[in-house]
């Protein structure tokens, strides 16, 4: 069952192989080389405090050691836990609207940095729109995207794919056939990534 789920996840998430002719649907929300031997899919929720902790405390080391060095490609997948975090979907939609302006990662960082401000708001729309100013995204371009919920289907599709694949908590990471659930520090990640990179880098 678990193996089936992981295969399904691979199909759901890894729709864009490095060598395909089709445009990469994850290009705007990925980091690292497309030819990196290992791809990590992070399934996260912008309102989740554990995701915030992972992003702010642990991810920078992983980015420096594995992504910047060409060993890992990192892709963000939305998994808003709506019953737990009422503002997670608007935040995810905002991030995906920012992605259309090629500002996904700055939006991602800003959403986590200001999580404590927008998370408790009854209606976060105005605050999220104000974040666009910080990102230097013209309001005339992002406002229609937010107002018409143009990225809602994309967020839903992300979320459904992640749930079908077995991710029930955030953050959950898909690492070349395995799932890692939880905000673990780099000490936990290093042996996992090193061993996967070793296997994937072996010449056939």
């Amino acid at each position: 069952m678990r193996r089936t789920r992981l295969l399904l996840l691979a199909l759901l998430l890894a729709t864009a192989g490095a060598a395909t002719a089709q445009p990469d649907p994850h290009a705007t929300r990925s980091k690292g080389s497309v030819s990196a031997p290992v791809t990590v899919y992070e399934m996260s929720d912008f309102q989740c405090p554990f995701c915030k902790r992972f992003t702010e405390q642990y991810f920078p080391s992983l980015e420096k050691e594995y992504i910047a060095t060409g060993k890992v490609r990192w892709i963000f997948i939305n998994l808003p836990l709506v019953s737990l975090h009422p503002n997670a979907v608007p935040a995810a939609e905002f991030a995906m609207c920012a992605a259309r302006e090629d500002k996904f990662w700055p939006a991602h960082d800003l959403l986590y940095r200001r999580q404590e401000v927008w998370a408790p708001l009854k209606n976060p729309a105005a605050f999220l729109l104000s974040l666009a100013d910080s990102l230097k995204i013209p309001r005339a371009r992002i406002a229609p995207c937010l107002e018409k919920a143009e990225t809602r289907a994309l967020v839903r599709s992300d979320s459904e794919g992640a749930v079908k694949a077995g991710a029930g908590s955030t953050p959950t990471f898909y690492i070349e056939g395995g799932l890692l659930a939880g905000a673990y520090p780099p000490e936990v990640w290093r042996p996992i990534l090193d061993s996967v990179i070793r296997v994937k880098s072996r010449k056939p």
């Binding site: 554990f50 836990l81 908590s169 955030t170 905000a183």
Partner: protein, 237 residues
């Protein structure tokens, strides 16, 4: 060790029921009910333990509250009874108008007369109770309010930093507080993540404005009833 991930949680439904003026358990509307990831009473006790002096004037305030209780309850019950009779009278009068010149009209008219008689008999008692309550209020209330100033000052200084401590506790458990307000049937609904939660609320006591019902209950099941049996009856110093 705390969890390292956000997971979907559960819904806890809470009902607030307190004794009304007649002593019957009644759902209370508009009570703010919160789910908190720490034991509020322990935090309160820890903060109280840090100060060398206890809350001032509690004994005097208790006796003043006691002196106010009886006239307040007597008036409230008398007014409540008259209000109930008036409501009944209004509905009987409406029925009588509808049933005019039918056999039922005579019976309704007789009932209306009995209700008017009861209302007339109760009116002097209500006026007496009102006068006693006014006298009690004029005598006791200024003293109560004067002493409350000191009591509130003590409370402010003793619990200074409570909000910061509570926020820090919630953050250390990586949880977001959940709150709701009770509906007409006294129900509130709270969504909580996995892990231990306490349900806390306070409701006015319909029988005494100087007391309130307070709860700090572990949410061990998905339905929690906040009643006198699960709460504490506390003076409002």
């Amino acid at each position: 060790m705390f969890a390292l991930a956000c997971t979907n949680g559960r819904t806890v439904t809470v009902q607030v029921l307190v004794p009304d003026l007649a002593g019957a358990a009644t759902p209370i509307t508009g009570v703010v009910v919160a789910a908190i990831p720490y034991d509020r009473d322990s935090l309160i006790a820890a903060m109280e333990g840090r100060v060398s002096t206890g809350r001032p004037h509690t004994e005097t305030l208790d006796s003043l509250f006691q002196a106010f209780h009886d006239p307040f309850l007597a008036f409230s019950r008398a007014a409540w009874n008259i209000e109930r009779l008036n409501r009944t009278r209004d509905s009987v009068a409406a029925a009588q108008r509808t049933a005019a010149s039918t056999p039922a009209a005579t019976e309704l008219e007789a009932r209306l007369a009995r209700l008017d008689d009861s209302l007339r008999r109760l009116a002097p008692a209500l006026e007496r109770a009102r006068a006693e309550l006014s006298a009690a209020r004029d005598t006791l209330w200024p003293r109560i309010e004067r002493l409350r100033v000191d009591a509130r000052q003590w409370q402010l200084s003793t619990f200074e930093g409570y909000d910061t401590a509570a926020r820090s506790l919630a953050r250390s458990r990586m949880r977001t507080l959940s709150a709701d307000t009770t509906d007409a049937a006294g129900w509130a609904s709270l969504f909580v993540a996995k892990g231990p939660w306490w349900i806390t609320a306070r409701s006015p006591d319909p029988q005494d404005p100087n007391y309130e019902w307070y709860w700090n209950v572990r949410a061990d099941s998905d339905t929690v009833r906040l009643t006198p049996a699960t709460g504490r009856h506390l003076p409002r110093y």
